[in-house]
Amino acid sequence: MPSRLVKGIWLGLVLTALSAVALACSTETEIVEVIKEVPVEVQVVKEVPVEKIVTQEVVKTVEVAGETVVVQKDVPVYVTVPKDRIVEVVKEVKEIVEVEKEVIKVVEVERAREEKVLKLRYKEAINHLNPFRSTSRPHGWAWNLMYSQLIFKDDIAGQWSPDLAERWEAAEDATSYTFYLRKGAKWHDGVEVTADDVVWTYNTALNPAINPRPQPLALIKGAQAVIDGTATTAEGIVKVDDYTVRFDQEFANALFYDKCCSLVIAPKHILGDVAEADFEAHPFHTSASIGSGPFMLDTAFVADVGWGVKANPDYFLGAPLLDRVTFEFIEPRDALFVAMQRGEIHGSTYPTLTSEMYQALIADPRFNVIGIQGSIMRSFMFHNEFEPAADFRVRQAFLHALDRRALIDAFWQGNGTPINTPFQNPAWCDCAEWDARYEYNPDKAKELLDAAGYDYDTVIHNKTYYVDRGDFFAAIQQMLAVVGIKMETVLQQGPAWVEDYYNKSDFELVFAGFGAPSDPSGWLDSQMSTAAQNGGRYGNEELEALIQAGKKGRTVAERAVPYRAIAEDFIDRMPFLPVFRQNEWWFKNNRWYQPVLDQAGAATSFATIEILPVFQGGAWNKYHPEQWDLKPIAQ
């Protein structure tokens, strides 16, 4: 009996397992694009001339539409005349067969079009779609697809290109900028986009209770009063007419486009009456977002699950080629990699993979890896009040101690160039000479440390949010140990790091990724200006005056004077220690056509990854999303 019981149980288990496998196999197990052949019944109604058959037994003259037809007995005559010419039906006619319409059924075989759904992965913490609270990359994706700006940075043309504004102009003295909106641009609910929306958006963006980053807009005349809470609208934001907006400037400058034009325009008719206190909790930011861009919100946004957009057929630059774009939350790289291989995901909003994964994608003709010109500086920054590193020779020694080329090759797939200055613009940088200055030289490092009287018992605590780069920091620690610098790395989650760096200025040394824009005013504002957080406490009155002077330069030559002064100070005193500048490596399934990324040739190795230029740190994913496409799978 036990043996029967055991057999029965085994049989049950085997059957269960087989059912599970059958169920698994019954579902589509690999992603294959199916072009359906669908029989379509088309009813064609064919209009034919009326045929009238007249049969008579006697010779008679019949008036048919003014024509005289003579017929003889027993000799039937068939006359075909158009119906509208029949003026009389004679009694002698025995039989009339009239065919007015002939219905022909045609069965045609048509290739039904498969819905084009681009699937992208995201992994960063994104919790809302509030256009005034953009804080991370996925927001950028949402804005680019759903919203419009006045103008956008066109990476292919290498210039500003029209978006909501079809043309624009700057006053000769650069004290005002005027934008002419295109007529007929509509919000996703059908309401027309007008100058009122633009004026309201810019004034709302100046309210620090709504927008955490209003400072770049302070160039606009009267903006600071709104930021300070002493006014509700800025006098420099002027509605000229329903389709024209002028921005008067606080002072003549050439930075307005760069600092102010990336703001997405939001609908006044929906958000205009929302109270400040209710603004962040408004459903607009999760389930009812309405923009004027090529795609409309489709699947309501759910934090850390995903959201989706669908084509806006009324988009002012034409209906998008894609039907939908979905963003799915996948955190682990392994799961992302598998999903890419399976064709379940076509790309990612965050481009970090392991070396092995990049290699696998490069080796697979279904994918391509594309470089976007270096826009990140991976850098250290000492706290200016951290006594052991107060002598600038200690900071210089720190860089001399690092074999940066080896670090880049070992931990960043060779993707990076050592630099020493954040001012990577020939107008205010002797880049070739400066970037060669602090080469790998442990002996020189020791000399500098000795000359500075460095206390070798000091343990420097390095705070960083690169929690998955422990091996990189371990290697740095070893290199520093060779010259006698003791460093320990504290891995922190993003919010904890931000609090220590920005809010508390509580650190000795930080390592972070900083943007590397062609004009440094934004970077200086956020990192060094005494008007902002000034996390490293290097900002002072003299530096502040130079930062402000840089903003007021109307030409590159004018801006170069203060920027060069700052750059020369930085390259000697090294308050900021760039380790290397890095290109971002994006990857995508080749089915996805993206006009900017598709300019790059196919990579066959790390060395052949094509690096595409960008315009003023532009976002390639803003480039005409209505032109993006999903190609069929090669059969």
Binding site: N127, P212, P216, D304, Y465
Partner: protein
């Protein structure tokens, strides 16, 4: 029995209070706060205004002392209000309900798979003691216990998703926002199985031991001596008694399954409570974290109560208080 259940429910109240208080204190002591969580350290091109940070802290009540904040939260909870997420502004309970279903689906499927499968395999191993079946099952269950869940998930992703594409790689359904039951079950199978493996292995070992112990007891020998068929001896006398410790193990595993679900949900992008809790922790979204902790504690306490009730059902001595 009714009195017992009511008594247990009353014990829940101080337990839940203690759990919530401890969780709250630990949570607010973590570095970072929801306002700084709004700042992406990578894209630090423009500074955040200090005024904004101060206003937001005031708005979220982060400028009040910790005990005051806890009492306010508790007061709201007593009125059935779990609060609003700092990050999305949505009601926490609404967000949790949306996440609870996938998590319960995942954990209970794993619980059933692990328990039922483990009992069946354990009984088979006990009845065939020292046979090849027994050795094989012992070996497999030891592997199941020894290998961490995340590693099993990685192996599964490589083998049955990438190399032999039997299962989908991620998600609750194939199409975001489009629910289909069969598609959902298809997506559930692999993560639920991976999550169940450790319980399956443990249950197998325990079922085998319990069954062997019972099989050598006097009442089983008596049952055989009475001339009962082996089927009845095993099914009615041995198996039922061997079930008692297994009920304890299975129900006590529920909190561990919830913990394991956190890893599995991340690996397979399963939109459940675990993933939700991790993101809330990273964002220092206190109301969400507290809501998740409270609901999870409640589920665990209720499952313990269920275990006690099941005990009484299986063992009449507990019912009568013998």
């Amino acid at each position: 029995m009714t009195k017992y259940i009511i008594r247990r429910f009353l014990v829940f109240i101080p337990m839940l209070l203690a759990i919530s208080a401890i969780t709250y204190v630990m949570m607010v002591l973590l570095p970072g706060d929801p306002v700084t969580a709004l700042i992406d350290p990578f894209s630090m091109q423009e500074g955040i205004s200090q005024e904004y940070i101060d206003k937001q802290k005031e708005r979220y009540g982060l400028n009040k002392p910790i005990p005051v904040r806890y009492v306010i939260w508790l007061g709201q909870l007593a009125r059935g209000n779990f609060g609003y997420s700092f990050m999305t502004g949505l009601p926490v309970i609404e967000m949790i309900v949306g996440r609870l279903i996938p998590t319960l689906q995942l954990t209970f499927t794993a619980l059933i798979l692990g328990t039922v499968g483990g009992i069946v395999l354990g009984v088979v191993a006990a009845l065939r003691q020292y046979s090849y079946y027994d050795y094989f099952l012992s070996f497999i269950s030891l592997i199941g216990i020894a290998i961490p869940t995340f590693f099993l998930a990685l192996i599964a992703l490589f083998l049955v998703v990438l190399k032999v594409p039997l299962f989908p790689s991620h998600g609750w359904t194939s199409e975001l926002g489009v629910y289909n039951l069969w598609d959902n079950i298809y997506h559930l199978m692999l993560p639920a199985f991976i999550l169940s493996i450790e319980l399956l292995a443990t249950s197998t070992r325990f079922a085998r031991t319990a069954m062997l112990e019972v099989m050598s007891s006097d009442y089983v020998t008596t049952a055989r001596a009475k001339g009962l068929s082996e089927f009845w001896v095993i099914g009615r006398h041995a198996f039922r008694n061997a079930l008692l410790p297994l009920i304890t193990i299975s129900t006590m595993r529920l909190p561990i399954l919830f913990g394991g679900a956190l890893v599995i949900e991340q690996m397979f992008a399963w939109p459940g409570m675990g993933l939700f809790a991790v993101r809330a922790m990273v964002n220092a979204d206190y109301p969400v974290l507290m809501g998740v902790a409270f609901i999870t504690a409640l589920i665990v306490l209720v499952s313990n109560l269920l275990a006690d009730i099941l005990y009484a059902v299986v063992d009449p001595r507990i019912r009568t208080g013998d």
